[in-house]
Structures are given as C-alpha cells and as structure tokens.
C-alpha cells in the first residue's frame, strides 16, 4: 500500500523518487525469478540481468511502465529460449517508456522481442539471434515494435530471422540507427508506419537489406515519410528462406532497398554494394485488396547521394537472366515496376522500368525499357524525426 502510493507519487513527478534496482542471476528458477521481477517492478525500477546464460522455457513479459531491463552486454547476459515450450515470443513488452538494453536473446520459438502498443520504447545494444543462421523454422521477427509512437532501435545486432531482423510495424516517429542486421530474410523492415529514419545501419547477407512496405487491410495503413540514409547495404544475396505466404517471401534475393507503396520516401547517401538483383527497387502492391484507405503505389520517392557498387548481375526473378543478357550483363542499379508516381533520381545512374501500367498487372506483361528521367525534379527533404528528449536522456 505504501509502495503503491510512492509509485503514484513517482508517476506524478515523472522522475521516479525511489527507483529500485533488482538484480537477477542466472541458474535455478531463473524463469520464475525473472518473470516475477518483471511483474512486481514499479515504474522507474531497473531490472539488472547479471552476466550468464538464462535457460528459459516460457516467454517473458513486461507490463509495467518506465522499467529498464539491463544486461551486462549483448554477449554477456543471454536469455536462451532454445527449450522454449510456450508463448509467441521471447520477451513481450506491453507498457510505455520501457528501456531494453545490453542483453542477448537466442533461439526464441516465435519472435525475439515484441513490443505492442508500447510508446517511447528503447531497444539499445541488444542481440537477437537464431544461432543456426538462416532457416525457415526460425522465428519471424528479431526486434518487433508494433502499434507504437516514438520507437528507438539502436546499436543492436539481429541474425537469422525468417522474416525481418528489425521490423517496425503500424507505428510512428521511429529511429532505427547503427544496427547490424545479418542473414535475415529482410534486414530492416518499416511497414505501415510514418515518420521513420533508418540510418547508419549495416545490412548484409540478408535476402533484402532494407524494406519500406505498406500493406492494405491493417488497422493502420498509409505509410510514408521514411528516410533511408547513410546505411551500408552490402551483399544481400541470401536465398529467401521465409516461409511462403508471408509478404517478404516475395522479396528477390539480391535486393538492396525495396519500397512498396508508401508516400514520400527518401533514399540518400547510402553505400549500395553487390546486391545481385537490384540496389533500389520500387514496386506497387500486387495482390487484390479491398481497402478504400489504401494507396498501392510508391508515391514521391527520391534517390540522392548514394554510392552504387557492383550489382544487378543475377536478378532473382523469372526472366531475370534473359533481361540481364539483353542489357549487357547487369541490370541498372535502380529498378521500378513503372507504377510509381513522382520518382526523383538525382543520382547519375540509369533506371530500368518494367513498364507496367496498372496496379495488379501480371509481370508477364512487362515491357522493360530504360526509364527516362524527367527534365526537372522537386523533392523537399523530410522533416527530421525527433524523439522526446526524455527518451534520449534515459540512455545517458
């Protein structure tokens, strides 16, 4: 009772007065001890995962606002879900103002870490890994914030996700920076989200490096205002190992950056190297849908300041080989299905269009040609995404 009134006070003043630190060690009963700590935590508390390996059998969850879960390092404090018997993810967060930092999650049966409706969440210096590497039986998403405002994912490492390493869905005000995403189907995916910055990440050996998607029929549609900048997107040629049926199962191996639907996307100052299908690809949504809110085409996309290395020499789609031969051994670095509206390519590179004219048209009707740049472009830079100052302060 006393404690709950303190908590109320702490909430009222925003800066918790009596934040407690609870230390959890690996070993006997870790599942219960850790889960109980997560349940009994009060806003402002910090739960410290001491170094070591935590053998867990069930998903963990956190539902208390303002809690920090801190390990001794992404390789030092490891939550090992290899023998997980229940729940859809390793760790589920459903509360606001949570900081997750400096621990690792291995071999979760479903998603690695999911946060749903958890505003102002920080994922910092985490490792989420399926240690066997690419495998269709791995969990879908490594780091998976959905339906949130103010999301920060940084300095983390994700490997082996059978869908996306870092997936931000149906959210807004998002920064994904300085992460390494390796050997996932999609390295980073921003889906049905607005005001996102994906910067200074290394995306390598995925099927596709960075995806910016918008899908119909979800509670939140109409994604856009996404900046993809200063990333190294290299060698994303891993065979697509996503289970069929998922939207990313259609991503060709060798994709650097792929934009599907969305309005206002800026791809600038990235290094795009050795992606064998295409460094940058723009497509409309291809399947039937029944959603009046939905805009299936990429609208207002700008490419500038990117460095394009080798690539496009082995496109992973039907007819790709023939097409490559026809254009002299490698596709141009930028590929559009032709259904975009307002494409601004400031970079001095050729662009190929498949010449589709209607959304949903079969690829068999493609009439590939070189896209002729309009004489003039106009694209106003996106407003920078700024997160609440209190969020950045939590990392100090």
């Amino acid at each position: 009772m006393i404690r709950s009134s303190i908590a109320a006070l702490a909430l009222a003043s925003a800066a918790p007065l009596f934040a407690e630190t609870q230390r959890i060690a690996p070993g006997e009963g870790a599942q219960e001890r850790l889960q109980e700590a997560l349940i009994l935590a009060e806003p402002g508390d910090e739960i410290v995962l001491e170094a070591g390996r935590y053998a867990l059998t069930d998903g963990l969850s956190l539902d208390v606002d303002g809690v920090t879960v801190r390990g001794a390092g992404m390789d030092a404090s490891v939550l090992d879900f290899t023998n997980q018997a229940g729940a859809g993810e390793g760790l589920l967060v459903t509360s606001d103002n949570v900081t997750l930092r400096d621990f690792g999650i291995e071999n979760a049966k479903g998603d690695g870490i999911k946060s749903k409706g958890a505003d102002q969440i920080i994922y910092h210096a985490l490792r989420v890994e399926w240690t066997n590497g690419p495998d269709a039986n791995n969990g879908a998403y490594g780091i998976y914030p959905v339906e949130a405002s103010n999301v920060l994912v940084q300095d983390s490492y994700v490997r082996g996700a059978s869908d996306a390493g870092i997936y931000v869905g149906q959210s807004e005000n998002i920064i994904v920076r300085r992460n390494r995403v390796v050997e996932n189907v999609a390295g980073i995916e921003i889906e049905n989200s607005n005001f996102a910055e994906v910067t200074e990440n290394l995306a390598t050996r995925n099927t596709g490096g960075i995806l910016v998607f918008d899908l119909p029929g979800l509670p939140k549609v109409g994604g856009g205002s996404v900046l993809v900048a200063r990333n190294a997107v290299i060698d994303n040629n891993t065979d697509n190992f996503a289970p069929e049926g998922n939207i990313v199962a259609g991503v060709p191996a060798g994709t650097g950056v792929m934009i599907m639907a969305n309005e206002r996307v800026q791809v600038r100052d990235n290094a795009l190297v050795n992606n064998a299908t295409s460094h940058v690809m723009l497509v409309a949504y291809t399947q039937d849908y029944d959603d009046d809110r939905y805009q299936p085409r990429p609208v207002e996309v700008a490419l500038s300041g990117n460095i394009y290395g080798s690539g496009g020499s082995a496109p992973d789609f039907p007819g790709g080989e023939m097409l490559t031969a026809a254009v002299g051994g490698a596709l141009p670095p930028v590929l559009t299905d032709g259904l975009h509206q307002g494409l601004n390519v400031f970079d001095e590179v050729p662009v190929m269009t498949l010449g589709l004219t209607e959304v949903g048209q079969s690829i068999a009707e493609a009439a590939p040609s070189m896209w002729e740049k309009p004489d003039e472009f106009s694209f106003n830079d996106l407003e920078p995404v700024s997160l609440p100052a209190a969020m950045e302060a939590r990392l100090k």
Binding site: M1, Q31, E32, R33, Q35, E36, L38, I39, L40, T57, D58, G59, S61, L62, D63, Q84, A85, G86, A87, G88, L92, T94, A108, K109, G110, D111, K116, G117, A136, N137, N138, G139, A140, Y141, Y144, V146, E147, S162, D163, Y167, G169, Q170, L215, G217, L218, P219, A242, P243, E244, G245, N246, I247, Q287, D288, D290
Partner: protein, 341 residues
C-alpha cells in the same frame, strides 16, 4: 493393520468434513477487502469457498458457458461473485457489467474420481482502478492454492490421454488475453454465451438487473452429434472462433495488428480471414497464402496453426498445450463447406 489405519483415516476425514459442513451452514462472508486491494497469497484468503474441492460455493454462483474455451480438456469450475447489495447490469448480448467488488473465479481440474486434482484457479477481481487478474496454483494436498505470479508448469495427463507440461499462465499472460483497449476485462460471461435459465436465476437472486433478449444465442458446444446443417455448422464454427480466438483477434486486443477479427458479430468475410493474406505470421503461415482458403482447409493458415503444438506456430499462443481435435474438426468442415467462389 494397514486396513484399520485406513478406516481411522476415513473416520478422520468424515469428521473434518462434518465440521466443515457445519461451518458452512453459518456462512463466513467473502473477504471483500481481499478483492479490493493487494495480492492475497492464498486463494482461501478470499473466502469464496467453504466446502473442499470447490464443487459448490455458498458465496459465489456457479455458471457454465454454452461454448467454452478449450484448455487442454480441463474441467472448469466457474463462479461469479457479486458483493452483497449490488447487481450486475446486462448489456445486450455482450459482457455482463459486474459492479466494482465483484470477482470471477475459474478453477481448472483434471482427472476422474479419486484421480481428480485441482490444478489452478484464476481470479478476476473488479477493483476501483479496473479488473485485476491473478493466478493461483493448487498445492499437492489439495487444501489451498497459492499465488503464482510467474505462473508454473505442471506435468499431467489430459482426458485424451496425452502427457503434457501444463502451463499455468503468469499474471501478465492473464492480461494478454483479457486486455481490450488497454483495460483488463472479463471474456467469458457474455449474455450470448450464457443460458437463459442461468441468467433468470441470477436475476431472480438479485444479482442481475434483467435477462437481455439477446441472451443465449451461441450454440451449446456439447453435444454435437450426427451431421449438422450448414447453418448449424456456421454457428458452431463462429462460436468456436469467438470464444477461442477473438479475445486477441479483434480491434483493440492483443492481436489487433494482424487485422484478423474473429468476433461472433463480425460480418465481413475478409476480416474473419477469408482469402486474407497474413501480416506477421512468419513461419506460422506454414507456406499457405491466406487465413481461410474457402473449400480447402488444408491450405488455410487457420487450420495449420490450430493443428500445431509448436510454440511460434500454434494458435492460440497461450492457454493450451494440445490440439483441440473437436474444435479443429468443426473448423475444417466449416472451411471445406465454404463456397469456393
């Protein structure tokens, strides 16, 4: 020698039983304070039950649901407690609105006859700040259940004969199913899933304001013998999905981001999954393209996930460790009978 010891033990049990029974005749009131605050360590702290084994409560009213949630075949004892002088308010076919101070109690039991054991009891407490869900784990002696905030695993054998590691949910997992628009709410006691007879009795005893016209519309799950008409099949399947899936798969609930809405009242075929592609199913999709592929249960993600026991694939994600073969059969048949175009 052993025989006479047994007789003595039996006599002792009878004696204790008599004492308990006589105590029950002068009912000890429910501990309303325990409902309203704190996290009582023991189930007995609430005072819901005076008789052993919870077959009956003098303080809370037992109820059944027309179509119940599948929980590995557990026998469930459900009770509703409304504090003295208050009444619940019926709200059409929806959830009965229980007043603050009410509690819903659900005990999960396995085994027949002398093998029967109470495993866990979940309580939902309606407090000033909203509903709170707490899990209690029964002790070996079956005398009381203790608060198990972090949940537990209990090895047991299901009625179908499967040996499983039964999962008692932790406090957060209780909420994962019971949350709607950020608030914890009850799931089961909706007027449409309660019998008219029970509602009438509940109202007659002063615990409910009225019996709503829309009551009792979900079909009784047992028995479903012989072939059913297509109308009945649709009704069973939709009732099953409503009760087993819709607490997460509806707007504002835990799986809202899937866009799948499996509520009984949802009339749009796409929303309930017909030809709907998955969003974040991952390997749960099992290589299938849509949740429900009309006429083809084998290529429907819904059937694939209901047929699985594997975490990350199996649906529902929480609250069961085995496949509900009866439920699965109904959903299979329902999808098989759907018009293909």
């Amino acid at each position: 020698m052993r025989g006479s010891l047994f007789l003595m033990a039996a006599a002792a049990v009878a004696f204790v039983g008599a004492v308990t029974n006589s105590a029950a005749r002068t009912p000890v009131p429910v501990n309303d304070t325990a409902i309203m605050e704190g996290m009582p360590k023991k189930l007995s702290d609430f005072g819901f039950f005076h008789l052993p084994r919870q077959q009956k409560s003098l303080n809370a009213v037992r109820y059944e649901l027309n179509t119940p949630l599948y929980s590995d075949g557990a026998d469930k004892l459900r009770f509703a407690y409304v504090p003295h002088g208050k009444e619940a308010v019926a709200n059409g076919e929806g959830l009965l609105e229980f007043p603050v101070g009410s509690a819903l109690i659900k005990t999960f039991a396995f085994g027949e006859g002398s093998e029967r054991r109470l495993i866990e009891t979940r309580v939902l407490l309606h407090r000033e700040e909203g509903w709170v869900a707490l899990p209690y784990l029964w002790d070996e002696e079956q005398t009381d259940a203790r608060l198990a905030l972090a949940g537990a695993r209990v090895p047991l054998t299901t009625p179908a004969g499967e040996d499983i590691s039964y999962r008692v949910p932790n406090k957060n997992q209780c909420k994962q199913c019971h949350v709607l628009d950020g608030e914890v709410i009850p799931i089961g006691p909706k007027a449409r899933n309660l019998s008219r007879e029970w509602l009438r009795d509940f109202a007659y005893s002063g615990k409910l304001d009225k019996v709503p016209n829309e009551a009792d519309s979900l079909p009784p799950w047992e028995p479903r013998e012989g072939s059913s008409t297509l109308f009945e099949l649709d009704s069973f399947a939709r009732a099953y999905l409503d009760v087993n899936c819709a607490h997460c798969h509806q707007p504002g609930a835990m799986a809202s981001n899937s866009g799948l809405d499996l509520r009984w009242e949802q009339g749009d075929g796409h929303a309930i999954g017909i030809r709907k592609p998955p969003v974040a199913a991952g390997r749960g999709a099992g290589g299938h393209l849509v949740s429900i592929d009309p006429g083809s249960p084998e290529t429907s993600i819904m059937v694939h996930r209901m047929s699985s026991n594997e975490p990350g694939v199996a649906m529902p994600e929480l609250g069961k460790a085995t496949v509900d073969e009866d439920g699965l059969a109904i959903i299979r048949e329902w999808i098989a009978e759907m018009e293909t175009q």
